[in-house]
Point group: C4
Chain length 286, copies 4
């Protein structure tokens, strides 16, 4: 049994000098469809601040100005432009879909385009509305590097497990019906990261995080981490999720509620601290 904090220290290594933007990955974030534009902005802020090499955002045309007002660092295009979307999917190492995607016809179509065009070498993070679309339309996942980030109700819809039955045994059983290697970030007051045969309880976080957008920020961090830290996908996801709540804990010393965008602002600073440590542990993986 290993600790999430030790995994975070192991994953967040100093950057090699001999590196460039490509070393830290291309990420495509898909979401922020009216009326949920803010969600993908929060995911993008988290992703860029986590150190992803290049971040593109597929969203509503109307949402691009607000995104760029926060983050000119992200490239952005209209998600309804299928040609551009397919090109962007082809170039990305990591794709996050679902933060504020909504569940209308366009959302479904965009999600299907993503599912059809992704290949086994790409990491796919499925968040928010996309989890509901997945459950509702029983869409098929092909890739074997899938990360799911449901809260309890979303996990219920997807797995059929009632919230009170969402323990380790049942959640891991449900994962067996999904592509081999799928990672589940089961968000709750005791967020746990699962694969079919691994589990890591975060042990950080608190009620100051109970505010809209917290999950979008987490999803963006996971995307940013997966783009950079490629040795062990499970540990990378644990590290991202741990750091997200660890930062919230720190900020909560001086804040009754911790806003998602406040977390993103300090990611570079806290990652620097972790990269300066040298723990070399690993987590509960059987």
């Amino acid at each position: 049994m290993f600790r999430a904090d030790e995994i975070a220290q192991k994953v967040i290594t100093p950057r090699p000098r001999d590196s460039h933007k490509g070393s830290f990955g291309r990420v495509l974030l898909i979401g922020g469809h009216y009326p949920y534009g803010g969600a993908i902005i929060m995911a993008a802020l988290a992703c860029v601040n986590s150190g992803a090499g290049l971040v593109s955002v597929a969203t509503d045309r109307d949402n691009i100005t607000a995104l760029h007002a926060h983050l000119p660092e992200a490239m952005a295009f209209e998600m309804s432009d299928k040609e551009r979307l397919m090109a962007a999917i082809g170039q990305a190492e990591v794709i996050l879909i679902g933060s504020g995607l909504s569940e209308d016809t366009l959302a479904k179509s965009v999600f299907e385009t993503a599912l059809e065009n992704i290949n086994a070498s790409q990491t796919l993070i499925i968040d928010g509305s996309a989890l509901n679309l997945l459950a509702r339309y029983k869409l098929t996942l092909k890739t074997n590097k899938v990360i799911l980030t449901p809260h309890q109700k979303e996990w219920e819809r997807l797995s059929g497990l009632e919230i009170k039955k969402q323990n380790a045994t049942n959640s891991q059983s449900a994962l067996a019906d999904l592509p081999r290697g799928t990672i589940l970030v089961a968000k709750s007051q005791a967020t746990t990261v699962y694969t079919v045969d691994s589990a890591c309880l975060l042990g950080v976080g608190g009620p100051y995080q109970a505010t809209g957008g917290m999950g979008d920020t987490l999803a963006g961090m996971i995307a940013g981490f997966c783009a950079q830290f490629r040795d062990n996908l499970f540990e990378t996801v644990v590290a991202a999720a741990y750091l997200h709540s660890y930062i919230a804990d720190r900020l909560s010393k001086d804040a009754y509620v911790v806003l998602p965008t406040s977390i993103s602002q300090v990611i570079p600073k806290v990652m620097k601290e972790f990269s300066s440590l040298s723990a070399k542990n690993s987590c509960d993986q059987s």
Copy 2:
């Protein structure tokens, strides 16, 4: 006779660990209609920073980008979309209407939709232009959890009381004509919170607050507080109004004028301080 500062300490309790976004309420903010778009942005900043669980904003489509440039944490949709508006009203525990709502046909229609669809379990805060619409069209309030936040001229229009006659006795008498339980935040240099049989003078605040948008920020804080602190509505409103001016007082040590958005920035920090105190008093409620 109890003190507003003691009430604030009593109301702003530490969050229970066993909580989630739903524990801190869904709030719907309606307003920011051209040319008053900024008002609802300020209300939303105050509401989210006060710790509301989920905040949605019904406003002009054109106003959403500026809102999201400040606050991607808030969901936002077009207030003229009646179907979506009614759905959002149905889901909210707290509804604030009027900050920059304007008084045109659309504003009136949106207000009427809100009044028709709200039920007795929901808290309704009526601010700014909505107070004028209420006075002008003699609209009927059904819910029994109403909070009014007029400045003196708005209260005159609504109650018929000239400004110089707006003392406790007269203002409380006027409240008797409104739904039972209605709370009045009578904004002036000596802001007082009333019910028909209770009164609490804030005793904080000053002329550095005399700048546009201060009331929108107050309204947003009240909404955020009502979403979270549900034991005693009167005390909750007192706590929000007290904290608003208390923060202004603090910031005024280093500022000739205190901007509304400056107040919102420090709400989480100051609420944290209050939650760490343990006063258990209560206010002048007969």
Copy 3:
């Protein structure tokens, strides 16, 4: 001969407790017409941070989102809406026109509307493009509370004085052709505030201010000061202009170039410092 710093200390008095938004004036700012949208944003930031009670901005519709992204505190409407413009002019105590107004047909028409509808009790500040329009079309000024804020080239166009002849004697003579009481802020490396028979050299400021938007910020501060400090218009203008460059001087200790928006951010803090002092001097007014 009095010193500008002493005038600033005299003008920036503590706010009376018995005051409200109306005590600090309604200001209307007109400008920011494509492609100069940023100018009126900077003027508005300066004006609101200077403590004006209520600030409205008449600008391009397209420019409102960027304005609100900076400053939800300002109300904003489309300057081509003549009806609304006239109403706003009617309500304002102080009108600033010209920061980024441009010089096209709409700009000229808006300026003419302002000139036709302003009355002798209102203060009119004429800046930037409006100074050029005034010179080019020989428009007539009716009000007797006019403030002009030209740089040297603009003053040349308006007065006919070549830059090298713009000394006190000549500039004051030129003022004699303008409405009685007109105040000239002659911007240069030695900015001086003139009336036909008064002069005050600022004696602050430096080359770190030589960047686009500095004048828009100054104009906005003058508007904010005129809205609040109404005893002596000349001294009020001196105080605003002095404080503008005084802040730049302070910031330049740690900055090679001082951005206009950086100045606005610290206006409330520096005004607080000045209001705590009690100098009671006055300037060179014969």
Copy 4:
């Protein structure tokens, strides 16, 4: 052989008191064409913070609001408006083209307009997409004050040199085919500034800079420096490129990744430090 840090100290001189906006140059930045709007925003932030006198941006109309949300200090117009574009080119001392310009028909046409209308007294910085357009269409450069800022792949396209052959000898040979005096900023982990017969290795920077937008920020700084420091173009470019990475190094003490916009925020502070030093060295120029 001289050191880049000494050159930076030599170039960044205190501003003469007897100066005005014109002393620090008019800069025109062209780029930010969909879907790369953010790039020109980052260039503009860097340019204005570097102290350019007046900065105009030619970009998509849709991109202006996001630009102004960051930087009201920059004037901005639609790059497809050829008449305005030509006027702006005529007024600028320094033109930067290519940051997020894209490579479509409009981009090519805008670039051609720039190339046709620029004269030998103007400095032209060619970045990003414009370098690719230059390579693809074999466009002709007339001006003799050209600065190229390619990363390795862009330099390969332009010079025909494979990345592994991009050493000093070969890169300088390739420069011989370009207008006399052309300066090459060869971006890599060991960024070097070249003319046909000079070279200066920066010796600063690191992997925390490997994130999207870093090059746009560098291009904007070079533009800002060229506008102000006109004695020796090569040294000016070295100073800008050096300072860019020097700032990144400093920020990396507390940040795992250094965002481009973080660099721009501290340019005025760091330039102030350098201007206070008095080194009088010069670089390897034969």
